[in-house]
Amino acid sequence: MFQKEHKQTSIASNAIFTTGSMRVSKLLPSVFITLIVLALDYNFSIGKEIKSTFLNTFSPLTNISQSSKKLSKEVSLFFTSQYKLVSDLEKKNKEIELLNFELLKLEQLTKENEELLALMNYTKSNEISESVIGEIIDVSYFPKELIGINTNTEEISENMVALSMNGLIGTIDKIFPGYVKISPLYAKEVNIPGLIQRTNQNIILEGKGEQNKLYIKNLKNNSNIKIKDKIFTSGLGGKYPKGFMIGIVEKISINDDASLLKVEVSLTSNFNVGTKILLIQP
């Protein structure tokens, strides 16, 4: 009996405490809308322009706090003997900042010159018949890894390959007016005729979409291959120029099919490093 009364009291107290309270059904539409906005902003950065517009609108407010902070600092310093010293120090710091910026620009310029020099050296090679220089304008990772290159597309053909200052990096994915998209060597279904430097054995390397990794196709388990063997392009097939270093053998294991070896080659050149690209045809 007591239990029943206690239960009734608890129901009554709950009823008092939840009368007029919000129900989940009222919350759900707002949460749903917010989640959509969150997902859109996460995937497509839809809020970028809204944010920049609003940040400009809010900038007076931000400036007020910044300038009031500066003013309070100035006022407190004005009454101290350190005032001149501190202002001199600030001036010098600003000068240092400017000089650092100039230094950064010069370093960037030196790097670009080094890149151009390395690419120019490639064009002297007898293995290359045609070459066009381009500049990296964007890098995208979704749905697949690509870099966009600003170049003279009239001189470009679809079977050209891309070289950076570090070596061979990719193949042409698509040509657009004024720019081309380059996909990496390790993209799926890319086959590169290669050569093991130590043994002069011809092989085919294939990309499986794993970053900076290629796999040797159909290599028999009695093949003479060691870890750290260097792999170069063989030039067979005529798509890739001969003699360019591709990578180094990193891992050797027995394939599911016991008669074959699974050989992992680590690429020596990074796909999206640098600012200039040379598109070439052997």
Binding site: T34, I50, K51, L55, F58, L61, T62
Partner: protein, 168 residues
Amino acid sequence: MTEYLDKRNNFISVYFFIGITIFFAFLLEVFVSNFFELSVYLPLTLMVLIYWNMALPKNIGLIWAMIFGFCLDINQDILLGSHVILFLFISYFIQRYFHRLRALYTIQQSLFVAIIVLIYQIFLIFFLSEFSDTVTIELVLMTVMAALIWPIIFGILRQLRIKFVQSN
């Protein structure tokens, strides 16, 4: 005859009065956060929102939580909706249990607000990914500050409500 219209006008004025107070809290929060340049700051907008959710749950709804949540996201340049989600869940929680919360002593309410602020700040740190060395100290400091400031915010908003708002 005009009773219905009077009630409606009163509702609109209450609604906008709430909005104005949250707006001022938002401005103050932006000002203070820019002034101190900490990775954790005092969430004045949230605290004012908590007060109105507790005091006038029927009048506030969820629109102000959404509007000022988006404003804070834009101001801090983080994923749109991060603040909004937190504001919505906190508003819901408070509007669900406002009877119980109103009945608490001020010190208990301060403790409750401090816990909410702590959870809110932890979520925001994850959204902002600002893991600095001093973040734990700042987190504790701001939670304690929130607990200390709550009675002041509560007092000011209560006085304002009594003076300007005639809610049903």
